[in-house]
Structure formats: C-alpha cells, structure tokens
C-alpha cells in the first residue's frame, strides 16, 4: 500500500518534470500553436485593457472629484462590479449577445457575435473597467483636496487642475491599470463562455490550459502556464518602469 503511494508520487513528480522539460522546448522553438494562443490572449486582453482604461480612468477621476446626489449609489455599484465573478459576467454577455438576446438579435455590425474575439473583449472590458475606475477613484481621493483649490487659485482651469491632480495620483492610476490587466489575462470563466475556446480563433492561454490539462497534455499546459506567469510578471515590471519614469 505504502509502496504503491510512493510510486504514484514519484510518477507524478516525473510527469511534472517531463512537462517542464517539454514546455521549455516548446518555448525555445517558439511552437506555432503556443505562439498563436499567446497572440490571441494579448490581442484580447490588450484591447480590453485599452477600452477599460479609456472608460475607467475618466470615470474614476470624475467620481473622485465630484459630489452629487446618488454618488454613493454609483460608488456602491462600482464596488460591486469590482468583485463581480467573471463567469457571471460571461453569462450576462452570453445572454446579451446570443441570437435571441437583446443585442444579438439586432444583427448590426457594431455588436460582436458570440464565439468571436470581439465578444471576449466585451466580457473582459466589463470585468476590468470597474477595477480601473475604483482604484483610480481611490488614488484621486488620496490626493489632498486642497491641492486642486491651490492650483485653481494659481489660475489653472478646472481641466488643468484635474490633469495635475491625476498626475499626482499617477501611482494609483498605474496600479489600477495593472489590476485591470491582472484580472483579465488570468480570467477563464467569461472567455470560455463567450469565446468558446475555438482552436485557432478564440483559444487563449487560460482556456487552453484548462483544455490541455483535461486532455492530460501536461507539457503544453505547463508551457502555457509559464507564459501566463511570465506575461503577468512582465506587465508588472513594465508598469513599475513607467511609474519610475514619472516619479
């Protein structure tokens, strides 16, 4: 009994070791399948991040600066969005974009179809923009409100003062973008639902890892996992470098 368990453990360790070795080879030879999956992942998450930043940074800044009736409700909704389970977002987007859904049934060019990169981008934007907006709002609120008044007293327009405060809050804004990217590059539920994990089309790193693990193809799964970790690490390094340049 003991002997059998020890064998199984050794076998599993060997499998992981073999997987790591093969993963290294796949990466070293820039395996076309792996590179394609990486390309789709970066295209989907990169595009989604651009949209999230374009929506989230101005929204967060506006919520950080303004006072209006119902602001608390908007902030509460935003916080809810920050903790929204991606698979629920996936379900929501699926229902919206399906042929019988409120948007899918419109059959117009600007509404992406299900199981396309466009649908995945929509889902990832919905997941990440509340994070970008929430962290940006917190960063803006962290800047002493008197600074804005002092800049205005120096003759700055409202817009100039807003930009200056945002610049002061840049560390937090950068963190918001990192958090947004982290939330979507490693997300699996929503992209699986609305993308369908179609080979050569909508297969991304996370969905490919799930598939290859289920198939028992650990070498490819480990190679993809290493790339995912590396991408996450590189994005953080890039953001830290940007932060260093602006400091």
């Amino acid at each position: 009994m003991l002997c059998g368990e020890s064998k199984r453990r050794r076998c599993a360790i060997n499998e992981i070791w073999e997987g790591l070795k093969q993963a290294a080879l796949l990466l070293w030879h820039l395996d076309p399948e792996v590179m394609h999956i990486v390309g789709v992942s970066l295209r989907v998450s990169g595009t989604a991040l651009l949209f999230s930043a374009a929506i989230g940074i101005p929204l967060g800044a506006w919520l950080g600066f303004s006072r209006f009736v119902g602001r608390r409700l908007v902030v509460a909704l935003l916080y809810t969005g920050m903790g929204f389970p991606p698979v629920v977002v996936g379900l929501f987007v699926y229902l919206l974009l399906s042929q019988s859904g409120p948007l899918g049934s419109l059959n117009v060019a600007w509404v992406p179809r299900l199981f396309t990169v466009g649908a995945m981008v929509v889902a990832q934007v919905i997941i990440s923009f509340p994070l970008v907006a929430g962290f940006t709002m917190a960063a803006v609120k962290g800047v002493d409100p008197s600074l804005r008044q002092q800049l205005i007293s120096l003759g700055a327009t409202e817009w100039q003062a807003t930009l200056a405060v945002l610049r002061e809050a840049r560390f937090g804004v950068i963190v918001s973008v990192i958090a947004g990217f982290g939330s979507i590059i490693s997300e699996v539920g929503a992209v699986m639902l609305v993308g369908g994990n179609i080979e050569g089309s909508t297969r991304v790193l996370t969905t490919a890892i799930v598939l290859e693990t289920r198939r028992g193809n650990f070498s490819l799964a480990i190679a993809l996992a290493l790339i995912l970790l590396l991408l996450s690490f590189l994005s953080n390094i890039l953001m830290l470098r940007l932060q260093g340049k602006t400091a």
Binding site: D144, S146, L147, Q149, L154, G155
Partner: protein
C-alpha cells in the same frame, strides 16, 4: 482704474447650520495692504477664500475690481486670474521647484517663463534651488516657493493666509521684504491674514479684526493700533485677549 478692489455687503458664510463668517461691510482699497487679524477660528481663512473667488458667500454681495456688477459664481477665468492666493499649508506638485513656480504661467500659456521664474525665485532668495525636487524642501523653503509661484504671476491682488506661520525670523524677514518689494514695484493690493499683531503693525495700511466670524473693527493701521474703539480690539492689540 477704480480706487477699490473689493466691496462686500452683508457677507455671510454658513456651513450647515453654523455661520462662520458675518461681515456687514468690507472695502479693500487698491494698492493697500489690508491685514486681517484675529484668533484661530475667527473666520479669517474663510474670508480669504471668498476674496480669492474660490468660495461663494452663502449670503451677501461681493464686488470686485471696481465693477458695478457683483461677482458671478463661478467667476469667469479672466476675473479669477486677477487674484492669487498663498495658502496657510501650501502644497506643491511632486516636481522641481522651477516647474512649481512656472505652473501658473504655463497654465496661462505665458511667454518668457524662464526669466520670470528665475526673478521670482530671486525675490524669495531661492534662485539656487530652482532644480531641487519639491519634496526635499524644508518648511521655510516650501513657504517661500509658494510665495514665489504667486509672485511670478504679478497678480492684481495677492491674498496671503498666514504666510510666515511657523517660520524662523530669517524666513519671516525674507518674505516680508519680498512683499514690500512687490508693493513698491507693482502696487499690488495685498490682503494678509495673520495672527501676529506685530507683523500686521509692520506691514499693513489698514487692519480688520475678526472674532468668532464677525468683523469687530476695521480701521487704518495707526488708528487701529493706537486708538482702537472696541474694547475687544483693545484687548487683542495689547495681547490681553485669552483665546
């Protein structure tokens, strides 16, 4: 040019149910240095924010720059840019001293930024620190940079909220000399909030005494200090007021 810069009637500022400022009548003459004195919490900074056109009075009417029309809220940019305020707790951008002083000029799209900034830094004795990072400054240097970034704009009206609070005598004298120079060369109207009676006496043409948000007395400096009419002013001037 009109002989007054501010005229106020029945100015009230209320936060919630608390009225923090009640000034029935206010006149600031062009080219004067008006000292506003009073203990902490007297409403001095609130009055200054109203005069800086940053905060509208809850009640009353304020006229600015000799105009017969009361100030509209929010005031137009060109009107707002005629006034500059130095805050009691100045905040600088996380940038160099030079760029902080240049901020207002660049916001206006002004020309000759470099020589003007250098001249302003010279006035406050900080020409050698133009490239220093703002976060490396001492309290006195920070206060002087805050004054320089206001002086560089050559405003028609300069409002100063306790600009020498917590400064050593050397820094106090540097700032006071800079103010005298500004008045001499530019005839700038200055409103100086201070709790330092001696400073008000050294610099002011007219003095206003605020207590609990109310204007107790306003008079020419000599009359204010030599023959105050109100017993509370007398007590304050003699340093007998406990607060």
């Amino acid at each position: 040019m009109s002989d007054w810069v501010y005229m106020g009637e029945n100015l009230r500022v209320t936060y919630g149910r608390r009225t923090v400022l009640r000034v029935d009548e206010l006149t600031v003459r062009a080219g004067d240095l008006l000292g506003i004195v009073g203990p902490s919490g007297a409403g001095k900074s609130t009055l200054l924010r109203v005069l800086a056109l940053l905060e509208p009075p809850t009640e009353g009417v304020l006229y600015f720059g000799g105009s017969s029309e009361p100030v509209r809220w929010p005031p137009p940019l060109d009107v707002r840019r005629r006034v500059t305020m130095v805050f009691q707790r100045p905040l600088l951008l996380s940038d160099s001293v030079f760029r902080n002083v240049a901020y207002g000029l660049r916001a206006r799209g002004a020309d000759n930024v470099r020589p003007r900034v250098e001249q302003a830094l010279e006035m406050v004795g900080l020409a050698h620190m133009a490239h220093a990072a703002a976060h490396t400054l001492s309290g006195g240097e920070l206060q002087r940079v805050a004054l320089a970034r206001a002086l560089v704009l050559e405003p028609e009206v300069l409002l100063l909220d306790e600009p020498t609070a917590n400064l050593d005598p050397y820094n106090v004298s540097v700032i006071e000399e800079a103010l005298k120079g500004l008045r001499h060369h530019n005839h700038t109207t200055i409103v100086l909030v201070t709790h330092n009676v001696f400073q008000a006496r050294r610099l002011a043409d007219r003095v206003m005494f605020l207590l609990d948000g109310e204007c107790v007395e306003a008079a020419d400096a000599e009359a204010f200090f030599e023959s105050p009419k109100d017993p509370r002013t007398r007590a304050f001037v003699r340093g007998e007021m406990v607060y």
